[in-house]
C-alpha cells in the first residue's frame, strides 16, 4: 500500500463528484456531489500527511479546516435551498435563471 493508492482513490472520488455536479439538476443532489469532492481533497491531504517525512500535523490540521468550511457551507446552502423552495416551489437549478443575460 503506497501513497499512490490513496491519491488514485482521491482522484476517482473527485471525478465522480465532478460528474455529479455537472449532470444533476436538483440543488440538493449537486450539494451531495460537492461533499464527495471535498472528501476526495481530504483523503489526499491526510494521505500526504501520513506518508510525508518527517511526520507532521499540518495536513491533518488543514483537513480539519476543510471539514469546518464544509459544515458552514452545508448549513448556508441548505438555507438557500429552503428559501428557493419556498419562493419558487422547486429546487431545479435550471429554473433559477433570473440573472441569465
Amino acid at each position: 500500500m503506497t501513497l499512490l493508492h490513496f491519491q488514485l482513490l482521491g482522484a476517482a472520488l473527485f471525478s465522480i463528484g465532478v460528474y455529479g455536479v455537472l449532470a444533476r439538476r436538483s440543488a440538493v443532489l449537486i450539494l451531495l456531489a460537492l461533499e464527495l469532492m471535498l472528501n476526495a481533497v481530504n483523503v489526499n491531504l491526510i494521505a500526504y500527511a501520513a506518508y510525508g517525512t518527517p511526520a507532521d500535523s499540518t495536513g491533518q490540521i488543514i483537513a480539519i479546516f476543510v471539514i469546518t468550511v464544509a459544515a458552514a457551507e452545508v448549513g448556508l446552502a441548505m438555507a438557500i435551498i429552503l428559501r428557493l423552495f419556498r419562493d419558487r416551489g422547486s429546487v431545479d437549478l435550471d429554473e433559477v435563471d433570473l440573472m441569465k443575460g
Binding site: 488514485l8 482522484a11 471525478s15 443532489l29 461533499e35 491533518q60 423552495f85
Partner: protein
C-alpha cells in the same frame, strides 16, 4: 497481499460504490444515505492512514451532523418532485469531462508519485498542541466563519412576517 492492502481495497470499493450511487440514484433520500456510506468508508481510510482524530471528526460531523441536515432539508422540500427530476440532458458531456479529469489526475499522479510506503501517525496531543499554538489564529477565524454562516443561514431561511420589508 498484506492485510492492510486488503482492507484498503475493501474500503475503496465501499467508497467508490457509494459515490457512484450518490451521482446516479434517482431517489434523493437513497442518494443522501449512500453519501453516508461513502463518508464512513472515508473515515475507515483515515484510520488506515493513522489519523484517528480525523476519523472521529468525520463520523461525528459528517455522519452525525451534515447528513442529518441534508435529510432535514429533503424532508422540508417536496420529496416526490425529486423522483420525477431527470438529470441534465448534458450528462454524456459531464461523463466525458469527469473521465477526462480522472485521466489527467491519474497520469500526473502515476508519473510524479514519490514511492513512499511508510505511514506515520500524529498523536492526539501533538495535533492539539499545533492546533492551539501554531494554528491558533486560523482556528479562531474558523469559529467566526461558523458563527457568520449560522447567522446567515437563519436570516436566509426564516419566514418573513406579513408586510415586512425584504
Amino acid at each position: 497481499m498484506s492485510l492492510s492492502l486488503a482492507v484498503f481495497y475493501l474500503l475503496s470499493a465501499v467508497c467508490l460504490a457509494g459515490a457512484i450511487g450518490v451521482v446516479v440514484s434517482r431517489n434523493v433520500v437513497y442518494a443522501a444515505l449512500l453519501l453516508l456510506v461513502t463518508l464512513m468508508g472515508v473515515a475507515g481510510l483515515y484510520l488506515l492512514l493513522l489519523a484517528e482524530f480525523l476519523a472521529l471528526v468525520q463520523v461525528l460531523i459528517y455522519g452525525g451532523a451534515i447528513t442529518i441536515v441534508i435529510l432535514f432539508v429533503i424532508m422540508l422540500t417536496r420529496v416526490h418532485e425529486f423522483r420525477a427530476m431527470r438529470d441534465n440532458p448534458q450528462w454524456p458531456l459531464a461523463l466525458v469531462t469527469a473521465l477526462g479529469v480522472f485521466a489527467l489526475l491519474a497520469i500526473a499522479l502515476v508519473n510524479g508519485a514519490p514511492d513512499e510506503t511508510v505511514r506515520r501517525g500524529v498523536s492526539f496531543s501533538r495535533l492539539g498542541d499545533s492546533l492551539f499554538a501554531q494554528w491558533a489564529v486560523p482556528f479562531e477565524v474558523a469559529s467566526l466563519v461558523l458563527l457568520v454562516a449560522l447567522i446567515g443561514a437563519i436570516v436566509i431561511a426564516r419566514e418573513r412576517e406579513e408586510g415586512e420589508e425584504e
